[in-house]
Symmetry: D3
């Protein structure tokens, strides 16, 4: 692949054709997030979203210890949100905070808005930002050692870059959601699986990457027109009435059914064993 992706604190590689791997790459700090890393992850997913060379993305932490331990609190405490100018009144600080939070949210939402499916592999410390990021992904897998936590109340804030807005759309039990968000208690892989927060638990990070890659391979083999449509329509419908979902779906597919992929896929289906090749999107 000629195109290269070089970003501070993140590693972006291609595991196979069409399958990108984004790693949060600050292992010496348990992959904790600094201010600039929000911008970077937003930029990465915005770019992957439109690259014809990408069909599915795997997101994990670099190193064995952590997906991410969350905000780098030391760094954050010197940033614009936690250290506002002391000479401004509370309204002016709020005006500024509102813009900053909206910006951080947009960076995280770039994962959800990325047109290609994103598979999160949670492992080791998976605190705070780990939940914000992974709830914006499409499929969540985790390693048996994952220690997950909606950490924000422990630093005096209600989580505001995605967890509280997305968690109710991601798992079914409202009682469990309130429990983990109000207490900031750590929950493990088995509990995450039982609650449907993740859909599979793997024994080790290596196995996790392997399984995630296998899943990615399946998705990458499908028509990219069908895949991006499926992600878009599920996300759209999740948030709206069934009627609204159906209406949007009909307009979306009015164009998308005109792909050559349908013929190729049906033809391949009739001739079992033959794998269709789909044009880039």
């Amino acid at each position: 692949m000629a195109e290269t992706y070089e970003y501070a604190d993140f590693k972006v590689t291609f595991l196979e054709q069409y399958i990108a791997h984004v790693e949060i790459n600050r292992p010496e700090k348990l992959n904790s997030f600094t201010d600039s890393m929000f911008n970077t992850i937003g930029a990465i997913f915005t770019r992957l979203s439109t690259s014809p060379d990408v069909r599915v993305i795997l997101l994990s932490g670099a190193g064995p210890k952590a997906f991410t331990a969350g905000l780098d609190v030391t760094a954050a405490s010197q940033g614009p949100v936690f250290s506002p100018s002391s000479t401004r009144d509370a309204a002016r600080i709020a005006f500024s905070h509102n813009a900053h939070i909206a910006h951080y949210q947009a960076c995280v939402s770039a994962i959800e808005k990325c047109t290609k499916p994103v598979i999160a592999l949670l492992h080791g410390y998976s605190y705070g930002m780990a939940i914000d990021l992974s709830t914006a992904c499409d499929v969540r897998l985790c390693v048996a050692d994952a220690a997950m936590c909606v950490k924000e109340v422990d630093i005096g804030i209600a989580a505001d870059v995605g967890t509280l807005s997305r968690l109710p759309k991601v798992v079914g039990s409202a009682s469990w959601i309130k429990d983990v968000c109000l207490t900031a208690r750590v929950f493990g892989a088995e509990e995450a699986l039982q609650q449907g927060f993740v859909s599979r638990v793997l024994a080790s990070k290596e196995e996790g990457v392997e399984v995630a890659l296998g899943l990615a391979r399946v998705i990458a083999s499908k028509s990219p027109v069908a895949v991006v449509g499926t992600k878009e329509l599920l996300n759209y419908s999740r948030d709206r009435t069934v009627e609204e979902g159906l209406k949007y779906t009909a307009v979306w597919n009015a164009a998308m059914l005109q792909t050559e992929d349908v013929k190729k896929a049906i033809f391949s289906g009739l001739k079992k064993g033959k794998t269709p090749t789909f044009e880039k999107l």
Copy 2:
């Protein structure tokens, strides 16, 4: 029952008073759907919706092998959606596709809009349309042999007659939903039960029908005013804010509480053992 229901490719019978059984009846083709069957199933459920002789409906496939294997792809590939006139531009084809998809959606939605509860019994091949249809039902049961699959990406399309709009309202785990929709992998009865897609698994189709009938019998014994209200209000609220749900509920029940059924039901409740008889709706 004097009234008869005669429809090509479907069998409609009454298992008992008030309990209709709709069977997709094309077993030699694994109950796969042709274009005309969309119209038919829409017409059947629209009619059952207002019949005073019907209080609950069971939906299954005829024969031992399949609920439905999905679209009859061979037939569909010659229909208006997959074989548009080649002389029209992409916009005109899209205009036509939009109308066709909306029509198919309306046929499937007739199940959800049917005022009476519908119990789906999934068994054998339950692919594609099987998920579209059953997510529009109220209760989903399945047989141990059920092989379920959101098949559409395998033919190059994002599912567009209901699955993607309803699945996020039907089960809690978004990760599992994305997994099965993006991969088109088959999932079985145990997985469906664990994820809450079905609420019970039965050993055989016979046992499935028996259990579904038992469930239907319980529902048919209740006040039909209470039953249709419960279906309507749950569906309405599922898609809207709690505030909107409560407001609509108050207006709905402002009339419905004026039924004689309340007195009959309370009186019967006080005299345990006595079963109330409710007027037709």
Copy 3:
């Protein structure tokens, strides 16, 4: 605590600083609800909502037998909803019913609108109103002996003070919801846990209170600014699109991040072992 809470049919005590315990206190009638009790429970939670001395609330039934067995049907049958003046036409009765239902709904919604988290402990008979009330709570625990039931169809009505509007937001499996709401069958603790309706089952009521208190203690130890924000933002986002949730969150936190609690919490976090003390809200 100087402030006292005296209410007929309810007992309000403080288990510890910041932790209130509301008990439905009509054990001789299985804590069943009369007309006036709606007003009372609404008033209690509205008051607790703004009291700076309260950070978390436990709701249970008094006595060993019941959380609540539901409406006191005998009493209700003489109330305004079930015994309207016979000289008025159906429209005028409906106008009056609408207002009454809306009022009862508002009383139950006071629990959800209460800014502080509410933990429900279901035990013994937990019928009808028990589901209306507990779905308006934040965390649901139950005792092994809990017998839960969406009872309303058994008295000829669709549940209208909250269950049908909130249950689809509280558990993931729509099939299970329809099953229990349409049949009014009793379900037990294990089923409730498996479906995510409750997040924990305790062996006895005593253990239930103890565990609920432990949970309340954890929540009460956190920043009250962070806790009320977490409840508010989860409830808001649950009902709206992710985009709307994020937008509201940014505006909310624009002010809330300006709390002293953030500094205290971060400082305590850095000095492990030290418990921060947060000002009253």
Copy 4:
């Protein structure tokens, strides 16, 4: 035009190629509506919606006296809504009413859902149904003699087949809307123009038809792809947030921009004087 449109109580003709004229044709009864006419007008507009021979539709009353004087009250008072079976309880009657009202609404909404623009020409008596129908149209013109009235409160009901849902979307002054809907007072052409309810007043019915035809001719000369899109997107956006409107618009035009009409239109625009010819939709 080979295709013929024969319907009781309505006359459907083609004024020119692509321009249909629907006349409510019961002049001896001031074009008042009977039960069956709802079905008919629904059927007519549903059919015109998909006919490639139709690009714009004019709706008026037959004869000089009335657009429509509204419901044929004598007939309606014997219909299912006003004369329900006296042996059923108020809840069962309400269940039936709900379905009937929804059906009548759907018949009127067929005008709004008709993909082609509909121009209403109000003239003479334009009471009740006249407002329901014309608010579902796209452009409203009126003749100087038009006497318009939201008549429903005068027969003891709140208008329920469209006026109250659409009027707030059709004119800007809420005070005027409440005034005319709560008093059922007649308003004339000048007032209608000043309030923006109609966009032009013509001296006579003949002039009205001529002007409406001129307007229709302009619309019929444009790309039908652009025209149906403009109607659809305006209606969609009217009811939703700007963000939702833009999102739907982007998906809609993703297909529609692929029309040949764009090239034809731009090419014609560059060569002034040349009128482009667009393929049928």
Copy 5:
């Protein structure tokens, strides 16, 4: 009328049977609002809403000089919103402000939620609160001397008890709305009429009361079932999609069509000249 309405700073009288007149009664202070007056006006309209003796309400200021000059700024500056305890952090103050604003909003919204139509007669100084209150009314009339102003930016705040949420629903021109809200400039009767903010201008306050009374008399003569439905359905639909409006309308009228008033009204209509008498609501 046996029932009496005694409230500080407001005068509530009955101009005729069914027609209440609420006057803001602090003329020596230009009817400016103190903190307690919010509670009072909320209580008055909540009570009028359910009184069977009330069918329509007129709202004006007492005395010749003002409808209301707005907040009593001197008083307000000592109230909880403008003078928060200086010892609390900005988040805690915001928590408290949020509750206070919501409370004031609810008091004003009691006018909109009042089931009976409310006619505002703006006259003299009509600043700030005058716009908040009158936009919550149904019909707005004004006297030629009315000096209206969205005053809030002049005291450093964005209007928060109703004007900014309701004005976009009350008049059509967004450009005019932004103009008057961003500049706080005074606008007069003619401008208000031209923009549709009021629907009629009267020469003097006396004439205003007379005309408002005439309008009220017309409304009071109609079926109260039809009138309350018309207000409710217009308000509901204004804020939602046409589809949602129609759905709610059908459920509402399913009960309301069962009124005796329909028969009375139709019978009276057939026998011109006879005025029907409708039962109290």
Copy 6:
């Protein structure tokens, strides 16, 4: 002002402190829009939005002839939307179109999302993009020579960068909106004023700038906290229910009422004649 704004095809100057003037600066081409100009205008307004030196913005065209004549059709016809790669299928082209349209929309929406009020001065040719841009502004003024037109149907498309989504929120008469959008007819200053599309007509461009500047001066003299709040809350509420608008308003003002500006403004108000000075935002 040290800060400089240099952009191709746009001129950004400061007319006075806090008052920016953005001119579309391609007068030799009637200020028609090329592809790159979308990016530029988006960037300009995004930057102005957060600059503390800006409180209000005036948008006009450079030169005497045009605000903007719309898309530069010659240039656009070679751009990605109108000249897609011919080797891709209709679905892939649609996927690409969707992203491009969404991008253009975001550029235009930057005006609406700009936190500071934007005053549009329409003059001369004001076609197509002129309506897209000006409907995203807050106040619209026009010069007597303005020739306005929703031009898009004339080039075979439904307007897709804002006009169709915003026009129904900007003027009240739906009939007029449909008329001008479906016919692409030119309308002039008087008609625009009468319909409320603009709120004032000026004799010449010079007078227009002068009047706009006067308006801007008034707005710039107010508390910037109050001004940005007023814009935000009006835009938010316009698109949502009154209830939602009020809820958001309360949270917004919970922080914003804590500004020093309130005290300054009230103090100045009490001492008439003294103009308050507000800190930068």
